[in-house]
Symmetry: C2
Subunit: 359 residues, 2 copies
């Protein structure tokens, strides 16, 4: 797993160049430092653009002036390679639709359209594919989006893992809203919409090689309706983001870095399901680094925190929502965790891989 | 390759249901009848929408009335799984950008944005990935589009073939243009922009297992500038389509079916490079079924055929453009080929696979 890796992952601010003879390793897909390093060294030098540099899970995009469009487009794309493709609480199809609906919703957009590209492995049962397409249709209907374009390619047996799905979302941002990872300010309040770590642990237990059984369901869900309600009562929301790959800790580190602020969390306020906590302890994982697929981080001005919390709690996917911390001025680009013992420790970005293929 | 296939591929008009125990086979990725059958039986029942039903390589999509957008969006998506990932004349990166730029341009849209999702196989050399990203950047620059969003996922060694790229394009259709496969009318003229079959044969020869060598370059190229010039002189263009998977024959069959017309071609007028013709003959392929990635079919009213031809010829990618046939009333949903001997034969849709993994 670590062959040919460099030791250059000291921080996001100054990645060292990748070695020319380096190869892709699983850690490049973690969503953590190695992923960021890959993106900064391989993609940015050639594909530089303002939306890419902003580092959000969506791109805000205008149309030409002649189109006379009010507002902007919100565009997002996601590859899905979860193993196994069906797991408690969902499957790769539901994951693909919800993941992309959520990403474009994080810009404050109304999600409108999805495209779906399928890499199918020779030998995949048609009945499995049908179930997955049905899951996609149901999730799209719940979210109120239309799947308007698709493509399929077939690769030889052994050249995929059942199927991979890449979804792209197109939404419309109705006004001058500027929600994004770069807008957190000291004094803002950090909320999450529920239990952390459910999705990653559900997928892991579905692999069946843990040596114990645990009844954990993925939280995969479309969050756009919750977000619409939240924005109606917390219109100055600074940041919305879903803590997927890399979990809460990695996602908050990204935000701290983008906004050049610190984030102070209170550990006892972070909701974690006991069964997830137990499973994580048995396996040596920290649930704050485990992926979620139906949870929302919101960073809002202090005076809108209470209405934002109530809007989350009113959603079927937000009953365990909580205020978990605040944005602070120093130390910049750091996330601090106040432990139950009253001490404070740095919650760093995930370095390499922890759980591969969970989304 | 044929295990568990049904014998239900008699025609596009009435596919029989797939068997419940059927599995994906390589032929489902051919772009021919089996692909159509898969789409109609597995995707349409769940994902029905007007743009999907129209059967074009793009979807025309409005924004909500509050956006006050003039015109419509053109949205297209494509998975790319070509093997090998680098071939004479291009690589998977150039292919991905050009393929999607071309698909959205076929609606008469101005292509604006691309997203790119990467499934990376563990062990892929970083240097290879860098070259491919650079190819994408160069093709995007030539086409004048911005790659504004991306995603990467890493899968274990053996679970992909180097990398797969899924691109989605978003363009803007400035006016009430209604270009699409459903608009061909009897009396219209059919043009193509150059030699048929270059891409598929270039990829095949790059595999190195032919037993002979042939210097064939892929034609992969962005066609949006050629299309803009063509539309300025042939504003009533009915159909634009690129004959990719399944080649000219399959693509024209799709159009004949969508428009409920016949299409009559004159074989001697179809430009085929001698080296491609020879390679095809040695291997038993028909170049009219071989994929192109930088060629355009245009169907235009008879009085705009000459200006359309001149616009194609003025492009660096259209010097061998030719008028190859006409749209006829009967037989509906059929493509006829007038041979050099003066006889006429039906040019049917490709049934299963001919060359897999060429795009």
């Amino acid at each position: 797993m670590t062959e040919n890796t460099t030791s250059s992952f000291e921080g996001l601010s100054c990645p060292l160049p990748l070695q020319h003879n380096e190869k892709i390793v699983m850690g490049h897909g973690s969503g953590g430092k190695m992923t960021q390093d890959l993106i900064k060294n391989v993609f940015y030098p050639f594909l530089d653009s303002v939306p890419l540099r902003e580092g959000n899970d969506f791109a805000r995009a205008p149309l030409p002036p002649q189109a006379k469009m009010q507002g902007r487009l919100s565009i997002s794309t996601d590859c899905h390679s979860v193993f196994p493709i069906q797991f408690p609480g969902g499957d790769i199809g539901k994951l693909a639709v919800c993941g992309t609906v959520n990403d474009m919703s994080m810009s404050g957009a109304i999600p409108l359209y999805l495209t779906a590209g399928f890499i199918l492995e020779e030998g995949l049962p048609i009945a499995t594919l049908q179930k997955i397409v049905q899951s996609m249709a149901e999730a799209a209907e719940e979210a109120g989006v239309t799947i308007i374009a698709g493509d399929t390619k077939v690769v030889e047996r052994g050249k995929a893992d059942g199927l991979y799905i890449t979804t792209t979302g197109i939404g419309w941002i109705p006004d001058a809203r500027t929600i994004g990872g770069q807008y957190a300010r000291p004094g803002d309040v950090v909320l999450i919409s529920g239990y952390m770590g459910d999705h990653g642990m559900a997928v892991l237990t579905a692999r069946g090689d843990l040596g114990f059984e645990a009844d954990i369901q993925s939280d995969v869900a479309p969050l756009n309706h919750m977000i619409a309600n939240l924005l109606s009562v917390a219109p100055d929301t600074r940041v919305l983001r879903d803590p997927t790959r890399g979990g809460l800790a990695t996602t908050l580190n990204e935000i701290a870095y983008q906004s050049m602020v610190g984030i102070q969390l209170t550990q006892v306020n972070i909701p974690i399901r006991p069964v997830v906590q137990t499973a994580c302890e048995m396996l040596g994982f920290d649930p704050l680094y485990v992926a979620n697929e139906g949870k929302l981080i919101a960073i809002v001005p202090a005076d809108q925190a209470q209405p934002a919390l109530e809007a989350m709690k009113a959603s079927p996917y937000g009953s365990q929502a909580a205020i978990i911390g605040e944005v602070i001025e120093q130390p910049q680009k750091r996330v601090l965790l106040r432990t139950p013992m009253g001490t404070s420790r740095i919650l760093d970005t995930l370095a390499g891989e922890m759980l591969p293929r969970i989304c």
